[in-house]
């Protein structure tokens, strides 16, 4: 069995916080061209990919870490991080290590084909590598490519080469550049024209090794008139150190295609004193490249010590649609600076932003959004709704919605509220026998309903439960 930390309270708070005892192959700490070459060699990559990494690395060296977000943390020593860790059994090319299979099982993700999740194909990523992808057969029947990034480089190199970095260029920002230089694995997905993906696709990211960063890369391409719903989940062990997670997700929707991308982010958030936890510095961007395409981001962010993340939509195709539905819960000393960018380029492009921030403890929870209407975006529309809910009086909520419009025909609406759980609502529920803790979590779930209802059913149920657990004891 995976080893359990001894602190029971932590375990109750964060049941995913165990460590799997597997032997991992790691590279020495530090970042330089040799390390990048080493990673690339280990993965037996083609030259163009190594070139991509090196270009990104050089861009990264010229960049400085962004400082505009409302988050504070001690300087990160990028030379102290290991940029690659993989279970040994896996690098030897064997079947899934039983220890790892058990880990995923315990996280609710059976990898065994006979017991796999109904209706959901899972790519399981353990530290730097993908360990298994289920439901391959049925996906292949539909011509869908869904596999680890490394495998995609071997199987469909042209697709990868065509689209990699086309949405988030290697030098896009400090963390994206870092990811582009050292990314280890992640998921790749291609849905052929006209195909409606028969399964939910899902990647489960698990950080296990200590002292390593996780830098995964997801690339998802929905060809013309195709449709896909994609889920992403993440957890990590309880550790006193901070671990860096700098992922990049690129989505491409061609003409008439729809991508629904849902995330339940539950990285280890650190303990009550703010020790440990994941730094979740992520770049996610979707490109509505074709007319009438649609990209919808739904995120439920309940973990990580620090979240820095702005899933965005570049609405280039005429009549394309971008959506962002977000619940961000922060507690204790957690810090979240999250939101979205909706860049309207095409005509009659539409976007919707629904952000629900819940702050408790001494946390800081910031919504940061940009809605940009380019001159050509005739009759573009945006509706933004940003609500903050405060629990206790030591937390902070901020809202920074920025609107830049270069086209007078645009219709832009913005609503924002900040509230506390009302005493009257609480009393109403109590008068019906409901204890205050359950009452609060019911009220908070109600507050998040608009976002939760965007999630696929099983995920919505999970999200509600997760938020309940996170809320426990958050009332000080």
């Amino acid at each position: 069995m995976p080893e359990l930390p001894s602190d029971n309270k932590l375990i109750r708070d964060y049941a995913h916080g165990f460590v799997t005892p597997v032997e991992e192959e790691v590279v020495p700490p530090g970042l330089n061209e040799d390390i990048i070459r080493l990673i690339s060699r280990k993965k037996e990559e083609p030259d163009w990919l190594l070139e991509f990494r090196l270009r990104a690395f050089r861009a990264w060296q010229r960049k400085t870490e962004p400082r505009w977000a409302l988050v504070t943390y001690p300087p990160i020593d990028y030379q102290a991080i290991r940029y690659y860790a993989a279970p040994r059994s896996l690098s030897a090319g064997q079947a899934v290590d039983p220890e790892i299979a058990r880990t995923f099982e315990r996280l609710g993700i059976p990898l065994d084909e006979r017991r796999r999740l109904e209706g959901v194909a899972v790519d399981a990523v353990f530290d730097s590598v993908s360990v298994a992808t289920t439901h391959q057969k049925i996906l292949e029947e539909h011509g869908i490519v869904f596999c680890s990034f490394s495998e995609a480089v071997r199987r469909v190199p042209d697709l990868v080469r065509q689209y990699l970095g086309s949405v988030v260029p290697p030098g896009d920002n400090f963390f994206a550049a870092l990811n582009s230089a050292v990314f280890s694995d992640g998921s790749f997905c291609y849905i052929p024209a006209g195909v409606r993906c028969p399964l939910e696709l899902s990647t489960y990211f698990r950080i296990n090794a200590a002292g390593t960063g996780q830098f995964e890369r997801t690339l998802l391409i929905a060809d013309r008139d195709s449709h896909v719903s994609y889920l992403e989940g993440c957890t990590a062990p309880i550790r006193d150190e901070n671990q860096l997670h700098a992922a990049v997700v690129e989505l491409v929707a061609l003409e008439g295609a729809t991508i629904k991308y849902s995330t339940v982010q539950n990285w280890y958030p650190g303990d009550e004193q703010g020790r440990g936890g994941i730094y979740n510095f992520v770049t996610k961007r979707g490109d509505c490249r074709g007319a009438r395409s649609r990209i919808s981001w739904t995120q439920v962010e309940v973990g990580s010590a620090i979240t820095w993340k702005y899933p965005s939509c570049l609405l280039r195709g005429d009549d394309s649609v971008g959506e962002f539905y977000s619940v961000a819960f922060t507690n204790r000393k957690m810090q979240a600076d999250t939101g979205t960018k909706m860049i309207h380029v095409g005509r009659r492009t539409r976007s919707t932003i629904v952000s629900k921030g819940i702050s408790a403890g001494e946390s800081v929870n910031t919504y940061r959004g940009l809605v940009q209407i380019h001159p050509a975006a005739e009759r573009a529309r945006n509706h933004s709704q940003c609500d903050s809910l405060l629990i206790g009086d030591r937390c902070t909520a901020n809202t920074f919605p920025v609107v830049e419009s270069d086209n007078p025909t645009a219709v832009l609406e913005h609503e924002a509220t900040t509230s506390r759980i009302s005493e009257d609502q609480l009393f109403y529920l109590q008068s019906r026998g409901v204890d205050p803790e359950t009452a609060r979590s019911l009220i908070v779930n109600g507050f998040c309903r608009e976002v939760f209802k965007q999630l696929p059913m099983e995920f919505a149920v999970e999200a509600v439960k997760l938020l309940e657990i996170k809320m426990e004891g958050s009332i000080g």
Partner: protein, 257 residues
């Protein structure tokens, strides 16, 4: 233990207020199981204050007195414990809880009051649908966020739905009849009649005779300036309709009591 039959609800010398102001000034009231009582009184006389104090609203301070439900000291209990002991208050102004559907709300409430077995999915939903149908509440309401955008009358019906689902033994209806049309009034009365019975007590707070025609009270009390100024049989209602409240005010009574 005593052998004398105990009143279901027993209020003795209750003094309570809100925001530093005393509103109830020594209120006595007893309701036995099987009885329906009416409480009437002018605006601001303290009827809702009494309801809130009985239910344990945190804003209301109790200065003195005792309240017992089936012999147990209510004032010691949290609101949710009072509800679990079988006290139910139909609010004069029920609040909305955005995003929480009637089903979710009632599931949490029934689970808390009647126990987890009572909310096994299929049986619970069947009971909820039947009860809603009995109160002529359309099924679409059950999936709407509770009280959000509901009309006054719809909110009142929703209170009665909750009451029937929770099966309380002591019910306080705070002006549940106000603002109801004639049909809705009958529906509400039908709901109350279903709860009333040999083991339950009902306190109907109202300004109007008409609900009492549907729910005939055994006793009628008049609340004036924080005290029960008079108690009597149903005939008191007709007298009030005729004469108003003024004849009950003691001209000599000092306002501070």
């Amino acid at each position: 233990m005593t052998n004398a039959p105990q009143p279901l609800l027993q209020i003795e010398g209750l003094r309570a207020g809100v925001g530093g102001r005393e509103i109830l000034r020594g209120l006595d009231l007893e309701i036995a199981a099987g009885e329906i009582h009416a409480l009437m009184g002018p605006n601001g006389s303290g009827k809702s204050t009494l309801s809130n104090v009985l239910m344990g609203h945190p804003d209301y301070e109790v200065g003195a007195g005792r309240v017992r439900l089936a012999g147990e000291d209510l004032l010691e209990l949290s609101p949710e414990e009072r509800a679990r002991r079988g006290l139910f208050l139909a609010f004069q102004y029920p609040v909305a809880i955005p995003g929480v559907s009637v089903v979710q709300f009632l599931k949490a409430a029934v689970e808390a009051v009647r126990g987890r077995e009572s909310v096994r999915a299929a049986a619970f939903l069947r009971e909820l649908r039947e009860t809603a149908a009995f109160l002529e509440i359309g099924e679409i309401f059950l999936n709407r966020p509770i009280n959000e955008g509901f009309s006054g009358g719809e909110k009142k019906r929703m209170e009665i739905l909750q009451m029937l689902m929770l099966r309380p033994r002591m019910v306080v209806l705070d002006e549940t009849d106000s603002g109801l049309d004639i049909d809705a009034l009958k529906v509400v009365a039908r709901g109350v009649q279903r709860i009333a019975g040999p083991s339950a007590g009902v306190l109907v707070i109202t300004h109007y005779e008409r609900i009492l025609n549907h729910i005939p009270p055994h006793r009628v009390h008049i609340l004036l300036e924080g005290r029960i100024a008079r108690s009597g049989g149903p005939e008191l209602v007709a007298e009030l309709e005729r004469r108003g409240y003024d004849w009950l005010r003691e001209p000599s009574a000092a306002p501070s009591g």
